[in-house]
């Protein structure tokens, strides 16, 4: 199987040997209602209410969303407006923990017997794809098995972004949960095969998973090259199954459901304990973190500044949700940890790209693009507002992996132009 385009990055997996520790309960919890890619939730608690661990505090009628639960027991102090990093406004619930750590009586293991009960349970767990995109997981299960039969479950364990090691720790610390989750999803949805895809820079994870599946003949471990972006959905499907997801298609159209490794491990934990998604394993690292870099199980809603203080952050210039290639800039350290946060990286140097110079037509952006797009032509078409040209260049295939910007010797912000051009096409 050929390699799709990509870039070789320095891995910086500094925290890979640091076992996950439980992060302390912060002084207050701040939970924005937009936690998934879908519709934001509406708070179902009000100021002054007492909440318990695992109690549902927000939900919505929209199917493309997932409810939110309180990670602590305490009192709702405030419901305020919050500016999300994607530019949307949504309400946010602030909870002051009371230190009693009382569990909600609602926490009980779900009954999962068929497709409907799995979809219901997964939605109730508040699960949104833990790989970073926060796609509500139950939506992935809500396909029509007659129209779009699925024969392969692809487990995405690429973790191709530099610095992040939270999925790697999941492999090492929750390997039984991973297998349990895979078998559960396979059994309920009737998916015969499973491919666990891991980049070759994680040999311990590969060895452990191979040992775990030794007596299974329907689960395979696929070793992928360490070439960013192996973890992009289309790339991992191609490497795992050889199938190509075409424009306008979803993975189920080629018979595949993709789950992040932490997502599938969480499904097993939830099925066993009934504790919803209230804590997230994340990597704390970056050049500004002077001590305690590592992996932590952090309550959702923990302010980032608590993590930075814990990490002895000095001279912080840039903070990122997620990795340096696709992560999102934090604009205020009071912003909280989200369900989809797999890393908080803080940098003390200015990591913004050098000043862009003129395109020299070297073609590197095109050769590194995993999907063979032509970013420099897209930039030209965008600047001349050439809508038809953008369509011909298949702009909407772009997954914003950022390889083009990274590779450009003239440091042109090509990925940014791609995003702007997509907004232009949608208008």
């Amino acid at each position: 199987m050929k390699n799709l385009g990509g870039v070789k990055l320095r891995h910086h997996k500094n925290t890979k040997d640091f076992a996950t520790q439980v992060f302390k309960t912060p002084e207050y919890i701040f939970i924005p209602m937009a936690q998934t890619m879908g519709a934001p939730c509406e708070p179902i608690v009000k100021k002054g209410d007492t909440v318990k661990i695992g109690q549902k505090i927000a939900d919505t009628k929209a199917f493309m969303s997932a409810p939110i639960h309180s990670p602590v027991s305490g009192e709702v102090a405030e419901i305020s407006d919050y500016l999300n990093t994607d530019g949307r406004h949504c309400p946010a619930v602030k909870i002051i923990p009371d230190g009693l750590d009382e569990k909600s009586p609602d926490i009980k293991p779900p009954v999962i017997t068929d497709r409907e009960s799995l979809i219901y349970a997964v939605r109730e767990s508040g699960l949104a794809g833990l790989g970073g995109a926060a796609f509500p997981t139950h939506i992935k299960f809500s396909y029509d098995p007659v129209k779009t039969p699925v024969d392969t479950l692809v487990i995405n364990g690429a973790e191709c972004e530099p610095f992040i090691t939270s999925d790697y720790r999941c492999f090492l610390e929750n390997s039984s949960d991973i297998i349990e989750g895979i078998l559960l999803v396979q059994k309920i949805l009737g998916i015969p095969f499973c491919k666990i895809c891991i980049e070759d820079n994680k040999p311990e994870a590969i060895a452990l998973m191979k040992k775990k599946i030794a007596d299974s003949n329907c689960i395979d471990v696929v070793t992928m090259p360490s070439l960013y972006p192996q973890g992009a959905e289309k790339v991992v499907i191609y490497k795992g199954t050889g199938r190509i997801v075409c424009e306008g298609q979803l993975p189920v159209n080629v018979g595949v459901v993709v789950l992040n490794v932490s997502t599938v491990a969480f499904i097993a934990q939830y099925a066993r304990t009934g504790i919803p998604l209230i804590k997230k394993r994340l990597t704390l690292d970056g050049t500004a973190i002077k001590r305690n870099a590592g992996n932590y199980l952090v309550p959702v809603g923990t302010p980032i500044k608590d993590l930075l203080d814990f990490g002895g952050a000095e001279n912080v210039k840039t903070v990122l949700y997620g990795g340096p290639m696709m992560g999102v800039s934090v604009y205020d350290t009071a912003q909280p940890v989200l369900k989809s946060t797999n890393a908080i990286l803080a940098f003390s140097e200015d990591i913004t790209a050098p000043v862009a110079t003129d395109c020299i037509r070297c073609g590197k952006c095109m050769r590194t693009c995993p999907l063979n797009l032509m970013p420099m032509q897209i930039e030209k078409a965008y600047k001349t507002k050439d809508i038809d040209g953008l369509k011909d260049l298949r702009l909407m295939l772009c997954m914003n992996c950022g390889c083009c910007s990274y590779a450009c010797p003239a440091h042109r912000p090509l990925a940014e132009y791609n995003q702007l051009a997509k907004a232009l096409l949608k208008r």
């Binding site: 289309k234 913004t352 003129d358 295939l397």
Partner: protein, 324 residues
Amino acid sequence: MPTLYVSPSPHISGEDSTRRVMAAVCIALLPAAVMSCVIFGINALIILVTCVISCVLFEGLFRVITKKTQTIGDLSAVVTGLILAMNLPSSVPIYIPILGSFFAIVIVKQLFGGIGQNFANPAITARVFLMISFSAQMTKWTIPVTNFTQLDAVTAPTPLAADFLISGTDKVLPFTLKDMLTGFTGGCLGETCAIALLLGGLILIFTKTITPTIPLVYIGTVGIFTLIYTQSLAATLYYLLGGGLLLGAIFMATDYATSPLTEKGKIIFAFGCGALTFLIRHFAGFPEGVSFSILIMNLLTPMIDRFTASRPIGIITEKKEAVK
């Protein structure tokens, strides 16, 4: 609370830069530049230095006068200067390299918007301009010097201008294979030493500055056509090593700004260059056709680009409904 910098992803960028790319080309040109000084003596050094300095000066001055950001730091003017010098005979008077540099940098490169925007290779266009305007000076070839400081050189024919039968059976080829490889023949500064040029080509490919497509297809096309035409392996080799083919195929046809983007486009481009070079060499009034061929194909590059756009992975080609 610290002031945070926010930016769209990706937040890191690679170490590659325009300056690095151009520096790699300069390094790849070094063996040929050094050999030109060995072969043609101090005159070659004077021309090389004049071209590089005047190209950088003209670019710097233009950017200052037009109040644009200074770009001499990207080293592209140095590359243009070096390549232009390699395209001049060692006997040219000093005003020729200066005039050529002005034409290459100001007329061809800067007036069209600077680096990456020029429609034709600056060095080649300048060479063609000089050839047509100063044909006497531009075709006065000299034999290799006997010592480095020798200023007055004896004129001599170049391998391609040398009078020999195409079929190669009646007359002896005027230069031996060893002369052709080491470059001790007549010709422009940088075109004679095949070994230095091939070494430069390997540097470019090894540093991933270029893909080998254009040089291979270009040289291959000329080779196959010449072999069919001359029916002689010795003559074919002679044609491949002689003249400006290697210099053109490795350093000038591979110019990013004026060659197609995709590999498919590069194949078409290089085949066109090769076919035209063969035709001009054997059927036109000039003994050499590398510059003209590349120039013509430069002009066709936007057209080639248009028809050889890369095919994205996962596109669905709409089936046109049959007209009822």
